[in-house]
Assembly symmetry: none
Homo-oligomer: 415 residues x 2
């Protein structure tokens, strides 16, 4: 089964904004044994879009277009698809009523332009959108499937998973691809490569790709099999070898990111956490509270950006700040202990550093960060110097704090 | 002048390897006043490729294909382009001799497969490749230009700059494109559209694209002119109309995001800020401290996730929490005032709400958020109900807080 993917939107044709919907869809379709043979990004232009949709339908068994279903003048995917299929459009009263109800729920007046989101191509199956205003549409012509999906990933992804993938799987039959993502934090990409290359090089199926991001390395394993069980077995054979090559360093093989893993450990141990953040400025708190149900383990955080706030909120000794400076082993430890004491929690975390671009000195360069733990996950301090710009330094510092928490909670050796 | 770009190669259709040739070409073409209206990545499949090239030539004045000019079985761009144009191919003796000489220079035997790199489409101008084996080709049909370029960036880029760009510039007639991004926060995309459509519809140059993101709407204006000054003047004419249609709602026309704008206002007024965040969990602090030099205006933040921390850190009256609940007008205001008092700053911000997915009730649904200001930017509280998942609710709440700060600092009316 061959698929073509269309991303609709002039804004996607700049060189700055990455188009990510078709990448994500490529992965999901591959897992279902569907081969993506073309990806097209096309401007908001009715004639262009119609020609692109017609061309794709002439070549592929499955065409998925994302974007251009919104309420504005630029949103032309419905009209273009109808023209490409040679079918009329009608306004659907049921969708219109739902749109109006949705606006009312959020206490907002519905502008008239929104009504076009209720337009449906003749013969389409409407795909409800629980997370946004524009519903999707499923069409079929001469045995070929065309799906129109909304552009925002938060709406497109669940709609694809719940309403498109089952239909595609049924149509595709055959070979099955399985993917697993093995994640490692606070370790250099080249060190991971060195450790695992002797393992994955002995396999041609699964294939392995190594991907480095800030504070994290990911191994993407893709196996093909005649059945889900066979593909899964192949994946597991390689994953077992990787686990032996990286003892205690893998934090997730099930799609979870590091904050979710740490949240799970805290919750299962019924431990409460307090943070004291300086250079990360609330980033660690924001990432931990992104996990649903965070109130079960997250008590409070202090973003103590100024020296005064470190003294007033955390009880850090002013003499300590003067003697060692705010960016020091000693102050990080005092921040962690102070957060724990002030909040009355089981664990305290302290982070202090120089995120840049200014503030570095020869002894304390930009990128220098101290992370400390205090309490039930052990008393530890780690010093690190991170490369990269302000944003990367902050992100890596938060990753190290999370990995220290994970290791402390599991009783593993310090980093 | 409109262009479509084709990247040829099955290896570019994975989800891991980014296709960068078309991004690079987009930038270069824009600078030359050419509008890229579609980017297509296509697999090594002769029929598919022929259809894609024919489709692009049917829509655009300029088509540039990169890749698929090498010696292997998979390299099909020449054959596909010839078929799309309906022209024969001939083997060019001069190129063949040059290929053989090149191989001899590196003391290598030339395998027979390499000979196809000397195939030239009838009527093509050959573009010599000093850095690799495959030459490029320039073709013209019915006034439309088609360029076939090699895929390796190290060969493609210089060939484009030296042999393609001059021809394109000549054809484009020295037109110049200018872009401006107009940003508006805490306003629905459809409301922005309603307000500005009567303005931008009177312009065909610049073109306008409206883009909605969480808590923000962007208007992308692209103007074409005979000179930079003319293009800039055209942009400014439309931007002035948009400003009149959205009085006081535009926060940036110079690329800055909302935290940078608020940071600039606080800094220039020498005002210090303290935050009290509940549902946003540090997200607002993290976004504000992402701005370099944040210590000039950012004093501290309290992530008071638990009720106890609201009482202990911010001095929120426990009776208030009991009477009105943590998610209320009264508690938001008390948090803002408490943060300001505890930190001794000019301004305090309080945010409390229900980010979901759990914790909603009929009276207080998921998405309900109260944001309060206290101090030098005015004393204000705003209630809002945001749609979408946890992450979106939190982001939108932070955006509203930033927009309230901006408006308060500029002395504009409350949202």
């Amino acid at each position: 089964m061959k698929a073509e993917l269309l991303a609709v939107g002039s804004e996607l044709l700049g060189s700055l904004r990455a188009e990510t919907n078709t990448l994500w869809l490529t992965d999901r379709l591959r897992e279902a044994g569907v081969d993506v043979v073309a990806r097209i990004t096309v401007a908001d232009d009715a004639a262009l879009l119609e020609s692109a949709i017609r061309g794709a339908l002439g070549r592929a068994d499955l065409v998925i277009a994302t974007g251009g279903l919104g309420p504005t003048e630029d949103d032309l995917t419905r009209e273009a698809a109808a023209a490409a299929l040679g079918r009329p459009i009608r306004r659907d009263q049921e969708i219109l009523d739902a749109l109006k109800a949705r606006f009312a729920r959020y206490l907002r007046h519905m502008a008239a332009v929104n009504e076009k989101q209720a337009d449906v191509i003749e013969g389409a199956t409407v795909l409800p959108n629980a997370r946004g205003t524009a519903p999707g549409q499923r069409l079929e012509q001469e045995g070929r499937l065309l799906f129109l999906l909304p552009g925002p990933p938060g709406e497109m992804m669940p709609m694809f998973t719940e309403q498109v993938l089952p239909a595609v799987r049924e149509r595709a039959g055959g070979a099955v691809l399985r993917t697993r993502v093995v994640r490692i934090a606070a370790m250099a990409e080249s060190d991971v490569e060195q450790a695992v290359a002797p393992v994955y090089k002995t396999f041609t199926n699964p294939r392995t790709t190594i991907l480095g991001a800030a504070g994290q390395v990911e191994l993407h394993l893709v196996a093909e099999g005649g059945s889900e069980a066979e593909a899964e077995e192949r994946i597991e054979a390689l994953a077992a070898g990787i686990r032996r090559a990286l003892p205690d360093r893998i934090f997730s093989e099930d799609g979870r990111e590091l904050p979710e893993v740490v949240a799970g450990l805290l919750r299962s141990r019924k431990l409460k956490l307090a943070l004291a953040e300086s250079c990360t400025g609330g980033l660690l708190a924001a990432r931990l509270t992104e996990v649903p149900g965070a109130s079960n383990f997250f008590e409070r955080a202090f973003v103590t950006y100024s020296n005064r706030s470190k003294v007033e909120e955390l009880g850090v000794d002013a003499g300590l700040l003067e003697r060692f400076g705010a960016v020091s082993d000693e102050v990080a430890a005092a921040m962690a202990a102070g957060a724990r004491r002030a909040a009355g929690t089981d664990i305290g975390v302290g982070i202090t550093g120089i995120a840049g671009p200014d503030g570095g000195t020869p002894e304390k360069p930009v990128g220098l960060v101290y992370v400390a733990l205090d309490g039930a996950a052990g008393n530890r301090v780690r010093r690190a110097v991170f490369p990269g710009a302000r944003e990367r330094v902050r992100y890596q510092a938060a990753q190290v704090a999370l990995e220290m928490l994970r290791r402390g909670l599991l009783g593993l050796a310090a980093l």
